[in-house]
Each structure stands twice: as C-alpha cells, then as structure tokens.
Amino acid sequence: MQAVWRPDIKELARKELETRPFESGHRLCAGCGAGIIVRQILMAARKPVVWINATGCVEVATTIFPYTSWNVPWAHNAFENAAAVGSGVEAAQKKLKRAGRFADDPDVELDYDIVVLGGDGGTYDIGLQSLSGALERRHKFMYVLYDNEAYMNTGIQRSGGTPFGARTTTTPVGKVIKGKPLFKKPIMDIVVAHQIPYAATVSPAYWNDAVMKFRKGFEAEGPAFIHAFSTCPLGWGSRPEDTVKLMKLAVETCVFPLYEVINGEYRLNGPSLAIAKNPDKKKPVEEYLKLQGRFRHMFKPENKWMIEKFQEWVDKQWELLLKKAGF
C-alpha cells in the first residue's frame, strides 16, 4: 500500500478548528496521551467517521451526561465488545448501502469510516476475544488500541499490557514481590497473526508518523489495527509536562518501536528505522524508566537486577523485530 496522502500540519490544524470533531473541555487528565491520539485519528480522517468506544478513560472522560465531547457519531456499549459492536455497525453500513436505504434522505450519510477505540485492558485482556473474531471476519474498520499500560480508569490495576516491574495497585511493590513480575503480552504479534492488511505502532510524539499511519488504517482494504502508545501521568507517576518526552523515549530506547506490518511485511519507521541502521542511537532503558514513579523501586541498589532484566527483554524483543523487518 502506497499512501499518496501526506499530512500538512497547517491544513490539519485548520480542519480541526473548523470541524471540531473532538471538543475541548473533556475531563481527561493533564498530560494524558489518549486525547492526543483521539485528535490525531480524527485529523487523519479521509471521510466522515463513526466512532465506537470501549469502556475506559476516553469513554468516561468525554461523555458525562448530559455532555459529550464528540461531534462525530459516537457509541459506547461495554468493555469487552467494542470490536463486536464495530462488526455490527460495519455490517449495517454494508447492507444499508447495498439496499440504497436513506439514498433519498438528505439527513443521513452512510459513507463513513469506522474507528473502534479500546484501551489496553479492553484489548489485551477482556476484549481480546471479540477483537480476534472481528479480525477473522475481516470487518472493515480501524481498531486503535491506546495503551497506557494498566487499567487507569479504575485506579491503576495491572493489565496484560503492563510492563515488567511496574508498580500498579494490583502489583504493588511489596516486601516479597516488587511490581509486576511478568512481561507485556505481544499484542502486535497476536494481531498480525490474524493476517490483516495493515497493523502499525504509533507514538503520538511523532505526530507525522502517527497521522500517516492512522490514514493508512482508514485506507486499508479490511481491518486495520493501530497500537498507540499513551502516557498516563497518574498511573505512571510521571510529570504531565514529560508526556511527550516519555512517548519519545519509549521509541528511542526501543521499549516501543515504531513499525508497520503491511500485508505481513514488516517495515520499521522513523527513529526505529534510524536505530536499526545505527544501533548506537539506541538509548538505555534507564532513561525512560527513571522519569516514572512506577519504576522507582527498580533504582534501589537491591533491585537493580530488575532494570537489567527489563533491558534484556527489550533487547530480545528488538532483535526479534529486526529479524522480521529484514535487518
């Protein structure tokens, strides 16, 4: 797939101001990455968008009755079924278009793209089944995982997306067990194994890369999956002003590499491609970990092994990815 579309930041900003698809005044925290992701998705839209949201921070913070931040059609059903709801919307759209329903109704538009948004809990864990089913059935929608690496909405509980060592309220730093003893589930590998046309990772700090990939997700001939990395100052114990810095460091340390998988072919992007070509550019994970309270215990002398283990894991994942991308 060769996207001819290139984002022009002035044009995107103008369009956003004119159409205001996602209003300000929502109740996401200062420094939350999710709001940035939502805006980047909507900036990348090529036609009207219908938005399906799993239960989570974005849902709760943007639609407190009687208010809504959404100037696009928006629907939330439950936690684990956003992909199934998206399947139903897509099926309805297909049938209604085929039947010419609402063709003469100036009040109805059926030509739209579908976004399904879920957090890491709603994707790695409770929503994995409905996501897998929808990918197998080849529904045409873009599923965006905003991964802030824990159940932040319910008060920072660990998920399958929580990284090794991280302190959460269900993986506290105890006297015996310090933080999460397990590693992040390889959600991209799981999704890519469904052989969908387009999958990619994005870090909102690289807006150009992110918006391009969301656009490619919209344009994909079938289901697309975007794994978006999302800082959570509350859950990570990071400063709100460090949000973008952390989303950059995650990429620069290869904790969260940027890549896309187009019809099964891996392609590294931006800083990750640069690191692949010049491994000296890869930063140590400490630089990323040290800005976050959730990893603070790992910097005590007796827990230094945790940083080493974290680094080993990151190195191994990176090596695996390099092989897949032909390096």
């Binding site: 629907a75 399947s87 759209q93 049938k95 739209y112």
Partner: protein, 412 residues
C-alpha cells in the same frame, strides 16, 4: 383462536426453529449476528442456508460468541439496520450484560430464545430458567405455545420492537417446539414484507444541539449523537424511571400490532397478553406459559367431561407484565394454580408465581394461589400430573391452607 384466512397461506411442515427462520427470512431483516447453541442451532442453520443460497438479503455475522452476537446486533441496530439474533440457555446468560445495554439504549433488536435449562449440571432440554433469569433486563418477552405462534410472534416482534423502541425476546420451548415438526401456515413473502416494512429509524429532537430539527436517532455523520454515555447519580435514576414508564407505554403498541397481524393472518391472540381457555364459568384454573399449556387445555377438556369446572390461562406477554388485566381476570376464581418451569432459588416460588401472587394482593377478591414447579431440565409433565395439579387446586377451595410451592413430577 379464530382461523379467518384473509390471504392465501402455505402450509409447511416446520419445526419451531425453522418457523422462526422463516419469519426472519420474510421480515426484511438487515443484519443477523448469531452463534450456535442447542436447541437454537437450527435457526442459525436455516438462516445460513437462506443466506448462502441468496434467498435473504442480509449481512450475516457469524460471531465468535453470544456476547458478541448481541453486541454486533446492537451495533447494527443503532447504525440504522433491523437486527436479529437467537440464543438459548447459557448463550443468553453470556449475553446478560449486553441485554441490559441493548434495552437501556432502546435498541429494537429482536431475539429468539429457545428456552433451555441453565447449567450446572449441563442440560440441553427445556425449562424457562434462561429467559426468566432475564426478565428484569428491560426486554419485552413473548412466550410462544407452538411453532405457528413462534412464527407469528417473530414477525410481530419486529413491529413491536421498532414502534415501542424496546428489544423483544420471542421464546419457544427447546425441543418440545424447536425440534418438533408441526404444520405451520406461512404467509406470502410480500404480505409479511408489507406488514413489517423496512426498518424505520425514529426521529428525535435534541433542541440544545439541533434546535427544532427532528434528527434520525442513529449513527449518522450528518447529525452526530453519542450513544451510551456515562450517566451518574444526577441523571441515572430519572432515566431508569423513564425506561420503566416507556415499557408500560408499550402495552397499546403490543396490542395494536397483534390486532393488525390478526387482520392479515386470521390468527388472533386476543386478548394478547394472555389467553383464557374455558374460564367463563370456571371455578379453578391453572396459569402457565408456552407449550405445556397445550396439554393443560387437553386436560381441561377431559376434566370438563367429568363435570369439573376448570379452565386455563396461558400467559404470552410476560414483560411488560399484565398485572392489572390479570388481577381482574383471576379475581373470578375460587383458587388458582401457577405452573412455573423455573425456580428462583431461595425465593418464595417461581417467577410466574411471584408475579401473579403479587398482582393479586391488591385485588378485592383474592383466591388462594399455589405454585407448581415442574419440568426442570426437560422433565415431562404428563396429563395425569396436570390432573393432579387441578385436583390440588380444586381442594384448595375448601382447604386454602396448602404449601405455597409444590413440585410436579419430581422423585422424592
């Protein structure tokens, strides 16, 4: 039931599941999302055959679970499509969470529930514990006596759902109806098509956003709305009360659709919410649901021959519960027996009993009422046991102090 054939109908030998599938085929359904589960599977299989043979213009989502079946049906419904799904027993239990969401967002999904016992132990046969467990979820519930009624109720359900803006559950007894071949009168395609029409999306006003404009209530970029927001203690309570009022307001819609259906089919289910059988001069009656009542009616006939003044009332619409109408009707009798094919563990009697007795509490004349729990997990209820139930109820005329709950056909 009056049989006034207004249009030429075709007699087909169908089991209950097939009758439902036929109704779906004829009812301009847009999206079906379903998962197989015994004894509902034949519905999914027949619709699949229609679909694979190009006989039905639907999008068929063959989902990976019942939870997704109902979730996808909801998505289709709020996107402007007519959506259908079918399930049974544990499948319905898996949908539990979504049942409430579909109802509370007023999405007019129609679902056939082929009644089956809930696990554990796993049992594939008929009782009503599945749909009775879902009775408070905000769905209109219509119970069918036979395959013909399953067909009729499914067709009517689409109209009722869309006019009342409530999801409708049409139930039929597992195996007894779902897998039993019966003669079913099938209406011509065009007659059903005209009766149900195409899905019409309701128009609503959102004055703060769209002024006086009546906008279509669906996912629509022309007039965006947000479905399923967060609703806390400052509004939730009012919304729930409104939902309850709206369900009560569905009563005249349910009646109207039945009367219009009687006009095209000749099949009248008057007075809609329940159907009395030989109750005019009856002394005592049995109240119950679904296919069992066919046998009860036969027993009524036999007992009448013996000079016993017995009758029966078959409840059809369990939600909204016709309390007022039943109160009037049941006040006439000396004693009432209720047939419950499910249990409410730790409760005082099964769900039909507690509803009926509660309705009767404010009646001027309160007959003694006894609950007969029967048929759990598909246990047969032979006529001789129904006779015994009638004898017990007749005895209550003289001796009203009897146990509240009795089990029919259980080994002791």
């Amino acid at each position: 039931m009056q049989e006034l054939k207004k249009v030429e109908q075709t007699m087909l030998a169908l089991n209950g599941d097939e009758a439902v599938a036929w109704a779906v085929k004829q009812s301009n359904v847009d999206v079906v999302a379903a998962y197989p589960i015994t004894p509902q599977t034949i519905i999914v299989e027949r619709i699949s055959e229609f679909y694979h043979n190009g006989e039905i213009d639907i999008e068929f989502i063959k989902v990976e679970s019942e939870h997704s079946a109902l979730s996808a049906s909801w998505g289709a419904s709020i996107a402007g499509a007519r959506a259908f799904t079918a399930t049974a027993a544990n499948g319905l239990a898996l949908m539990w969470e979504i049942l409430y969401i579909v109802a509370s967002t007023r999405a007019p999904v129609v679902m056939a529930v082929v009644n089956r016992a809930l696990s554990a132990p796993i049992n594939i046969h008929n009782d009503h514990s599945d749909s009775m467990g879902a009775r408070d979820a905000g769905w209109i519930q219509i119970y069918s006596e036979d395959a013909q009624e399953a067909y009729d109720n499914t067709i009517m359900a689409f109209r009722i759902a869309e006019e009342a803006m409530f999801p409708v559950m049409v139930t039929l007894d597992g195996f007894t109806i779902s897998h039993t071949l019966q003669n079913v009168l099938v209406l011509p395609d065009e007659v059903v098509s005209e009766f149900v029409g195409e899905r019409k999306v309701p128009r609503i006003k959102l004055p703060m956003i769209y002024g006086e404009k009546e906008i279509p209530l669906m996912l629509n970029p022309k007039y965006p709305v947000s479905f399923g927001p967060l609703d806390l203690y400052d509004y939730y309570f009012e919304h729930k009360v409104q939902q309850n009022e709206a369900m009560k307001a569905s009563v005249p819609i349910i009646e109207k659709v039945h009367r219009e259906f009687a006009e095209i089919s000749g099949r009248s289910y008057e007075p809609v919410h329940f159907i009395p059988y030989r109750t005019e001069d009856a002394d005592v009656i049995l109240v119950g649901l679904s296919s069992t009542m066919s046998v009860v009616k036969k027993v009524v006939d036999e007992l009448r021959e013996e000079g016993k003044k017995v009758g029966a009332i078959r409840l059809r619409v369990f939600r909204p519960f016709p309390a007022e109408m039943l109160r009037k009707e049941l006040s006439k009798f000396s004693a009432v027996g209720v047939l419950d094919r499910s249990l409410s563990f730790g409760g005082e009697g099964g769900p039909v009993f507690t509803e009926v007795r509660s309705a009767m509490y404010s009646a001027q004349s309160r007959p003694p009422i006894v609950d007969f729990v029967y048929g759990l997990g598909g246990r047969e209820l032979p006529p001789k046991l129904i006779k015994k139930a009638f004898e017990d109820v007749l005895a209550m005329k003289e001796e009203p102090e009897t146990p509240v709950i009795k089990y029919l056909g259980v080994r002791e």
